[in-house]
Amino acid sequence: MKHSKIGSRLAGHETDGNENPTEVRFVRVPSIAERKLGSEYVAPMRLDPRILDQMQATIRSLETEYVETLSAQVSMLKVLVEPACKGDAEAHGRLYAIAHDVRGLAGTFGFAVTGRFADSLCRHLEQGDKSGKYDDTVIRYHVDAICDTLESPGTDSTISTETLDALEKLIAANRESMRAAG
C-alpha cells in the first residue's frame, strides 16, 4: 500500500526555490509493525517492561568483561599520551580511537563520569583536528582525570564535576586564544 501526493501544497513548502514543486512527491507507507503483523497490529505499540528488564540484565551480564576492557583501554591511554603529545600521529589516532570508544560505552556500564571526561577529550581532539593545533596540557589533564575515575572510584562527584568544568573552561580559553591568533 502506498499513498502519495504529487506537487501538493506541502511539497511546495518543502522546496527552497531551486526545486520545481512538481518534482517533489510525498509518500506515506505503513509502519513496519503494520506490514509485519497485518490485522494483528493495533496502534499504538506499548513498551513491554519485561523486554526492558531483559535488556538491562544483558548489560549487567557484560559488565565484568567491560570493566576489564575499560581498564586495558585506560592503561593504553597512559602509554599513548606522551607520544601523542610529542606529535606521533599514530599514537594520536589510537588515543582518539580509545577515547571515542570510552565515550560511547563507559556510561552504559555505569561509568558516567569516565565517559564524560572521554567525551570532553574527544571534543578537544576534534576541535584540534579542525584547527591543526592541540593543547598538550589539556590532553594530559584529561587522561589523568580518566585514570583517576577508575583508580579512585569513590571520588566525590562534585569534585569530578568541578574538574570537568575546569577542563571545559581551559578548552574554551584555548579556543579563544587560537581564534585571536588567527
Binding site: 518543502e14 509485519k36 503483523l37 506499548r46 513498551l47 531483559q54 544483558t58 560505552l105 556510561g107 574527544c122
Partner: protein, 169 residues
C-alpha cells in the same frame, strides 16, 4: 469494545531483521546482545559504511542502526547513498536509520538529518533509549519525500538528538 494496543512482544521482534553498522567491536557486541535480548534473532553486523551498504543490499533489513564516525566510510555517507535515488535497487527511502553518535552539537544532528537519518541517539547508549527508538521506528507510519537525487525522510523536518538522562549527560 476498545481494542488493546499491541504490546511489543518478542513474537514481533522475532520477525525483525536489523543491520548494525559500527566500527567499535565493543559497541557492536553490546548492540548485538541488546537486540537479541529483545527477541530479535536476525542481526547483521558490519564494521563501516561500505560493509553496511553491501550488507544492506544483500539482506534488506527492516532497520539500520549505525554509528556516525567510522573509517573509511562513515555513517553519514552510507545514509546519503542509501537515500540517493540514482542508486536504483540499492537505494531505499523508507528503511528507518537510527544513528548513535557521540556528537551532540546541532551541526552534526542537522547533517545527519540532511543525509536521511531517521532518529539520532546520543551516546552513551542506554537500554531504554534503544528500546524506545526501535518501538518508534517500527510502529510509526513512514513518510518520505521523493525529489531529484533524494528519496528519504524530509530534510526539512525537525530532528532532535535523543539524549541520555542525567547523570549521563
Amino acid at each position: 469494545m476498545t481494542e488493546e494496543p499491541t504490546k511489543a512482544a518478542p513474537e514481533f521482534f522475532h520477525r525483525l531483521k536489523v543491520l548494525v553498522v559500527e566500527d567499535s567491536a565493543e559497541m557492536r557486541r553490546l548492540l548485538d546482545a541488546l537486540l537479541r535480548s529483545m527477541g530479535i534473532e536476525h542481526v547483521i553486523l558490519a564494521q563501516d559504511g561500505e560493509g553496511g551498504l553491501a550488507a544492506f543490499a544483500a539482506e534488506r533489513p527492516d532497520i539500520i542502526i549505525t554509528d556516525g564516525s567510522m573509517k573509511p566510510m562513515d555513517g553519514y555517507e552510507m545514509t546519503r547513498r542509501i537515500r540517493a535515488s540514482d542508486r536504483g535497487a540499492d537505494a531505499n527511502p523508507d528503511v528507518p536509520i537510527l544513528m548513535i553518535s557521540g556528537h551532540v552539537d546541532r551541526a552534526f544532528v542537522t547533517h545527519a538529518r540532511d543525509q536521511g537519518v531517521t532518529y539520532y541517539l546520543v551516546k552513551p547508549l542506554l537500554a531504554d533509549m534503544l528500546y524506545k527508538a526501535i518501538i518508534a521506528a517500527t510502529s510509526t507510519p513512514i513518510h518520505f519525500v521523493e525529489k531529484p537525487g533524494y528519496r528519504g525522510p524530509s530534510p526539512r523536518r525537525s530532528l532532535d538528538a535523543r539524549l541520555p538522562e542525567p547523570p549521563f549527560r
